[in-house]
Subunit: 197 residues, 2 copies
DNA sequence: TTATTAATACCGACTGGTCGGTTTGTTCTC
DNA sequence: GAGAACAAACCGACCAGTCGGTATTAATAA
């Protein structure tokens, strides 16, 4: 099963269309025909490249999670002060998701699908755990450097930090005009870091 | 347009079946026929009581949000120490959602639907804002009582607190076995309160 | 108490249309 | 010319919602 350059192009077209439609209307409410139409591609082409709608979803989720991981890794280079890293993350958190086109809605879609379909769940847990571990290690370093109090449990704190981030994104997506979310995010991370010192 | 006791019973049967199915499989993946079957009710009965599938969803969301509000109000009576109230909330947060049958998955469903359908959004914003206001007032009281530092912005802090709660529920639903979520919740609220003092 | 009326509650077959996926055949590309 | 890439017609299952008609229940009159 080789791949011509033309093939890769249509694959990308399908993936991009699907990303947009899934995040706007959800997995179930998005039809394969709709995806094909937006990608200027026939159904035959679709099922030549993907074995099913779910298959496309899994591929989509995989590539998206990879992209996110790359972006997050790139944030923490050049700085050694751990609290500063978290504050940097907070400062650009909006931008990170903007850079990924459709941002949080699609993550929410991944989340709900993973809660329902075991195969989706299995593909999502590992990146999720890796992400937590990355945070955990960062916090551990912070403790070692004396920036955080020694009684802190890195793993637990990592989950709390993740919670704040996810909760803020959830609210910001739901009610974008409701608050200055950049300010709320900055303040939230600030409160948490203050509690961790 | 009156209602016989028989009518109320079938209404409840439909609502309960729908609650279960919506939270398990989602709104789109749940068919009206499925709901009827589970409720031992015909399609005719369904459309006698609800004008559409969406209508049922809105009714369902309304009653659920009312129930949640009642539960949260009932938590804060009998105590005057504001930080203690939050710690109590954290302690019973798991129980609160257990008491509401299907807990967080259905809330997630409300959230995603509200992000997509304007009418759902409109019905959800008001309770959401009321909830935030309730938290905000609680924090304001805490500041007045000297439990929190004066530089704290009550509204912003309320949103941060909500974020932690939602983020924790999100993670706990996704990965129930991944951690001792009761402990993580306790610790998370603890960190936040420490930062607020 | 009983018969009548009317409104509520309900049934299930049916409809127009959409869905994910298949099939058959054509067109590119190497 | 061989296999990859694509197009479009097609299929059966399923969907939300409708409709003509039937029970059930409550109010009213005899």
């Amino acid at each position: 099963m080789t791949l011509t350059s033309r093939g890769v192009e249509t694959q990308n077209a399908i993936i991009n269309s699907a990303l947009e439609l899934f995040s706007k209307n959800g997995y179930d409410a998005t039809s394969v025909a709709e995806i094909c139409s937006k990608a200027n591609v026939s159904k035959g082409a679709f099922y030549h490249h993907f074995s099913s709608k779910q298959d496309l979803f899994l591929v989509l989720m995989g590539t998206w999670l990879n992209d996110v991981e790359g972006l997050f890794q790139s944030v923490s280079i050049g700085t050694e002060d751990v609290p500063q890293i978290f504050e940097n993350m907070a400062a650009i958190s909006g931008g990170i998701f903007d850079a990924l086109d459709d941002g949080f809605p699609i993550l929410l879609e991944f989340w709900t699908q993973a809660n329902r379909q075991p195969d989706v769940w299995q593909r999502a847990v590992e990146p999720y755990h890796q992400f937590l571990e990355y945070f955990s290690e960062l916090i551990q370093t912070g403790i070692y450097e004396g920036a955080f109090k020694k009684s802190l449990d890195p793993e637990v704190s990592a989950r709390v930090l993740t919670s704040v981030a996810m909760g803020l994104l959830l609210q910001a997506t739901f009610d974008p005009q409701g608050a200055d979310w950049q300010e709320v995010t900055r303040s939230g991370i600030g409160l948490l870091l203050a509690g961790m010192r």
